[in-house]
Symmetry: C2
Subunit: 106 residues, 2 copies
DNA sequence: ATTATGTTTCGAAAATAATAGAAATATCGT
DNA sequence: ACGATATTTCTATTATTTTCGAAACATAAT
């Protein structure tokens, strides 16, 4: 996770609609959500939604897979964990680092 | 921390230069850094840097205070902690959702 | 007061991102 | 093969962001 990639990931999440999409997918859990269902919930035009999903997928935060003629979207938790880890380790005080070290110590 | 504010904060960090600025300030620690010093390290024109700092300050990730004719910039760790907490609680695994479903089931 | 220093605001250009309708693509059911 | 459904790609428009020089502003030193 280099700085450029982290910035791109944060930028992907740093948009109202995309953050809503992401949180919706988190709520949906492992089985994910069909693009059409996301559209119904958020009321975004199909092409706009597709554009936003592509942006989330490009940085690996969301994965997509075809299921018949529908496409299922899923959160990639590893990616979010890496992101949170970066923010915690590289963008926080040593207070946080202490707790991490504590885990190592324990 | 509502969704709109979180999106704005992520957007503020989702830019190469601004993420570099932020990390630089984290490294600097509690005493922070003078704008001019940030400029020397990153080699960004003064007006551009000022614009980026304003963007980080607007969402509270960075605070600025005048010290004589210089201006000192400091990371606001609470803000970053809130952000990380949001991502952890609202954008992570179903561990959280289970507890939600658990409420329904209970 | 004047000058030097550090930073911001102004203003305008260039780059990037967001939006969405229409056409294209992929798959299913018949 | 054909029509229906789900989604993407194309294309264009509009909106936002980034960039940075020049001018303005604030403070300090003389």
């Amino acid at each position: 996770m280099n700085e450029e990639f982290v910035a791109a990931s944060l930028r992907a999440l740093g948009h109202r609609t995309r953050l809503s999409i992401y949180r919706l997918l988190v709520k949906a859990g492992d089985k994910g959500l069909i693009v059409g269902d996301i559209q119904k919930v958020l009321g975004v035009p199909a092409s706009t939604l597709s554009h936003h999903l592509a942006k989330l997928a490009r940085v690996g935060l969301v994965s997509q897979g075809r299921r018949g003629r529908k496409i299922c979207c899923c959160v990639d938790y590893d990616e979010m964990h890496s992101l949170i880890m970066f923010l915690t380790d590289e963008c926080c005080t040593s207070v946080n680092l202490e707790s991490e070290y504590a885990q190592d110590a324990a």
